[in-house]
Structures are given as structure tokens and as C-alpha cells.
Symmetry: C2
Subunit: 367 residues, 2 copies
Amino acid sequence: MNPEPLAPGATIGILGGGQLGRMIALAAARLGFRTHVFCPDPASPAFDVASRRTDAAYEDEAALAAFAADVDVATYEFENVPAGTAAFLAARRTLRPDAAALRTTQDRLEEKRFLDRIGVPVAPWAPVDGPGDVDAAIAAAGLPGVLKTRRFGYDGKGQAKVADRAGFVAAVGALGGRDLVYEGFVDFVMEISAIVVRGANGAFGVYDVGENLHENHILRRTTVPARVPDTTRGTAAALAIRIAERLGYVGVMGVEMFVVDDPTGQRGAQRLLVNELAPRVHNSGHWTEDGAVTGQFENHVRAIAGWPLGSTQRLGEVTMTNLIGAEADDWLSIVADPGARLHLYGKAEARPGRKMGHVNRVVPPAG
Amino acid sequence: MNPEPLAPGATIGILGGGQLGRMIALAAARLGFRTHVFCPDPASPAFDVASRRTDAAYEDEAALAAFAADVDVATYEFENVPAGTAAFLAARRTLRPDAAALRTTQDRLEEKRFLDRIGVPVAPWAPVDGPGDVDAAIAAAGLPGVLKTRRFGYDGKGQAKVADRAGFVAAVGALGGRDLVYEGFVDFVMEISAIVVRGANGAFGVYDVGENLHENHILRRTTVPARVPDTTRGTAAALAIRIAERLGYVGVMGVEMFVVDDPTGQRGAQRLLVNELAPRVHNSGHWTEDGAVTGQFENHVRAIAGWPLGSTQRLGEVTMTNLIGAEADDWLSIVADPGARLHLYGKAEARPGRKMGHVNRVVPPAG
């Protein structure tokens, strides 16, 4: 489908109306595309910048059919698009990334099986579908660890730390008793992200790897480049490319990885364990908007439109800091700082833990 | 009015729905503002990225009243806002730049009188309100020259070249017989633009002066920095600042100037003659979007919102090339060039002479 690149003036359909959809829409507009945002939340920040808006449930097939008829290609800003929604749309319009990418990445168990299958290292893990699986899981992945729901977890939701057998059994109950994945604890040096983009013609781009700092399970800051050796950087890029390639992926994908010291390797050697795939533009790629020649949002639009990809070249040393909850109230002091590039998402209510915006700071290389 | 800076989430009202309004709206969205675009053309490209849209005539007072009630500050993308519209709005909401800036700049005669009054040099000129004024105009400003309507001219429309007395008289008739301004021909070396921004608190920013190349009265390319001596650069910035200061201006203004060799001055000395003021973001400032720390659209939004201004620092050598009419059909080869930053305006129809988009190319300083 869509062997020809989409001409400017075509309509990009976006499922999901949060800040990611909003920034995709802004990038699409700059390239001359129209956008149509579909989201069940009438207060969606992406509605404010979309050419057309559908405020309907993801299960509303009449609304989905009208959306599909209106758009030239559809994409999404979140991995929890219901499978039925994706299938319904994909039967009518090109969906990029495709339904298979969604299927693999919206289920932690499917994702780990896929990564195992293509030889990408992950932390030790085991499926858990009841208290009877606890001993086998501990045997496979050790203690302590984290028990997670297979689906619909984000920002620390749908997961519980497990320190011992009794706590494990309790966590199984607390998380619903089944459809869980247990991951053994990894003593990592840092978490990094590789943001990869794959074009419709199979061309690749990878941004320089960033170093992520989390607080309360929410990304606080990404610093680029990550403080890792070049070999680690290269391995991270190669892993991200392999994943996108084997998924037949089209668009931007975020790949979170743990950096682990490798005592069996050479001095300074590190191993990488892939922690999570996000089949979409990613918070840890927001630095690219000011810190790279082409931002992740534009490259996502280019990819799904079948356009040539833009350069992922970095423009300096970059930090991206999320503004969470009331932190966004500091907007006036941030914009008074000439080195700060403020991005706000237009959300009305600054609830605790809610991502309200981010700030990029780019230090160009010394001339 | 509006002594406090506008908080994110406030609504910026924009009169005019062309590419300038569209790019103002995109910049406003990035800072967390909502936008409301008012334009009589239902196919306005700015409607596609606006939070709210009013498709009504500028004389529709009910629509204007609703617009004024909905927005927190109003601005415009074009200098030909009818005086009645500006007055109606300004009585209800802060209008930035204000109605006085519009009054001065939308009438070539008022503009020249103002520039004379504040000691800013312009080409020799004379008002013409009938054939009886022709001889005095020739005596004041010489031959050849250009006869222009006082109002509503742009891109070469509403003007006629005049080579001799008979042609002058004919041009007076062709241009309506009255409300005209005659400008003596200036043998200029080049045309340059200074893009200045003045904040609500009186703070200034000036971008590096760009060199403009026109074809068929339409801007073809702006190259930054202009190939002029530093003294000329400094004089241009000082003139732009003086103009904005004396207008009590808030927002971005484009100041077009002729660079003229000065045989009476020192070796290499140049004089500047201000050609035209544009009380708005300006085509010759489009390079700032990729070639400066803060683009002109964001700085316009910051200014009218009462925010601190962003840095106008240039990021390299920049060329901005307009895509006019069918030139925009080359979008695929442009986006395949890794050095090109494409901006398309989402206009459906590529009529000859119509500005469809532009391309910025930034060459960073050698490291």
C-alpha cells in the first residue's frame, strides 16, 4: 500500500490526542500536511492544532470508518491502541507503524518473546499466570525483581517490586492474578534510549543515544550524548536497527535499554539489555526537536508519508528536562533563560505526575 | 492593558489566515497557547492549525465581538487590517502591534511622513492627488521613479514605473487619480531587511540583517548575513530600533532598506534609505525559523504575550528561498536534500506568483 510518497496537502490521521499527537501534528503542518486527530478525550491537547478532530471512542466503528475515509495514512501516539481498532483501520487505510508492530509491543510477553527470537538481549524474565508460576519464575529470573502486567502499563503503573516469595505471591494477586510478566532485577549503570526511524523504503536513521534519568517511574531528564563508550553507543544503535528491521517497522521507535557492566568482558566492556520498545515517538527523543537537524516528530511524519528521512545529526550537547505537574508553573523563569527552549503541551490542568511540557538546552560544539 | 504576561493556555487571536498567521499559530502552540484565527477566506491555511476559527468578513461586528471576547490578546498577519476593524477590536482587547502602528504603516504617505519626522532617511518622495501634482513631484523626487497607491499595495501590485512626464500623467490615471505617492528612483546596491522585535516592556531584539533578492516584485531569496560592511549592519539595526521605539511598537516588524553607495562619504561608506515598514512578521525573516536560536514567529508571540524575548542569535550562514507557484511541486527533491529545511503552507492551489512555501539552508560556522 502507498508505494508513492504522500503529496503535501494529504491528511495524516493520528490516533491519540496527547502531547505526542500534538507534536506530530505540528511537524506535519510544517511540511504542508493536514492532520486529523482521533481521541476520546474532548480536552485533548492535539485537537488544538489539528485540521480536523474526531472526539469518539476507539471502539466507535462509524467514527473510525469516517476517520479512515478522511485520512491518507494513519498513525498513533500510543502503543495501547486496541487491537480491534488497529485491525479495523488497517483494513481501510495504511497504518504506520502497522498492526503487527502494535501487537508485539503492547504486550510485554510478546515483546520479550520477539526480542529473544531475534537475538536481542533482555533481562531474565518469566511469564506468570497465577501463584503456581511463582517458584518457576524465581528460578528463572531470581530475586528481587519486578512483576508487571502484560498490557497497559506506563510510567510505573501496573507493576510491583518483589523482594521475596511472599511478596511475589501477594503481588500476583494485587495485579490481577494472571497475564503478568516477572523480570529479574538488573543492576544497571544507567538507562539509555535509542531513537530509531525507519522509512517506508527501508532506509534507517538513528539519533545519538541519550541517557535517561527517571524519578518516581517518570522520565525526568535525557542527556545526549549518553556517558558511555563508543562501542556501547554503536551496539545500542545496531540493536535498535535490528529491532526495527525485523518488525518491518515504518516510523519512529523508542528503544529503552539498560547499560550493565560486564565483568567477564574486557576492561570497560558493557552489555546492553533491552528494557522496553515504544512503537512511536518517545519522550526520550524530545531533545531532537531543538538538538538535531531533523526532529523525531518530523522524521516520523516523513517515514509514514513515504518521504526520504531527514538528517539525525546532533547539533550539540543537549539536555531535555520534563516539566511535571506544577513545575510548568515556572514557565516565566524558563523563557527568561536565553539557553532554554520551552515546549508546553497546552494541558489545562497541571495534575501531579502529569507531563505538562519540557525544556531543551543545546550547547553547540565550541567553534 | 495586560501588564502581566499572558499565562500558557491563554488564547492568541490572529487576524488573517495566510502563511504568516499559520506560522504564528504554530509557534504559539509550541509555547502552550491556544489560537483563534479570524479570516474571511474559508480556505485559509492558518485555519488548519488553529484551536478556533472564525470565517467572517472583517466588517462583521458580531463576529469580531465574539472573537474579542474569546481571545486574550489580538494580533494580525497583514498591515491592511481595516481601520474600523482595528478600532473595534482595540476597544475590547489588547491589540499588538496597536492601531497606531497599523495606521502609520498601512498608508505609504503616513509612513513616509513618520519616517521624516523621526529622522529616518527615505528615498525622495512626493504626494500625488491628481495630474496637477505631477510637476511638483518631479521637481521634488526626479525622474525616473515609481508611482504607488498609498494603501493596499503588495508584491508589486498598485504601482507603476514612471520614466517621463507623459508616462507619469498616464500612471496617475491608471492608479485611480488620487491618494498616490511618487518615489524617485534610487540606484541602490542591494535591498536589505532588518527584522526587529520589541517586547511589551520595551526590550529589543534585532536579527542579523539579511540581503533580499526580488524577482517580478516578489521576494525570491534572503541571504544572511547581508554582504555589507559592519557599519552598515549596525546602522540598519539602529534605524529599525529607532522606528520600533518611536512607534511604541510591540511585536516583530520588518524594515526594508535600500543600501546606497555614498560617494561623498569615506571609502566604502554606504547610506541606508528605508523603503517600507511591515508591522508584522516578515517573509525576509523566515530564515530565523531554522537559522536563529529563536524564530521570528516565536519572538512575535513572546512579545505580544508580554513574555521575555528569545535570543536572536544567528546559527550560521543562512539562505531562505521562497517556493512560488509550481516550484513547490519540487518538494520531493527538496526533502531529499539533507541540508534543506522545507516549510510548506498547506495551500491547495499553486497559482502562479503564489507563495507556497520556503526552504531554509543553514551552514553552521566551521568548528
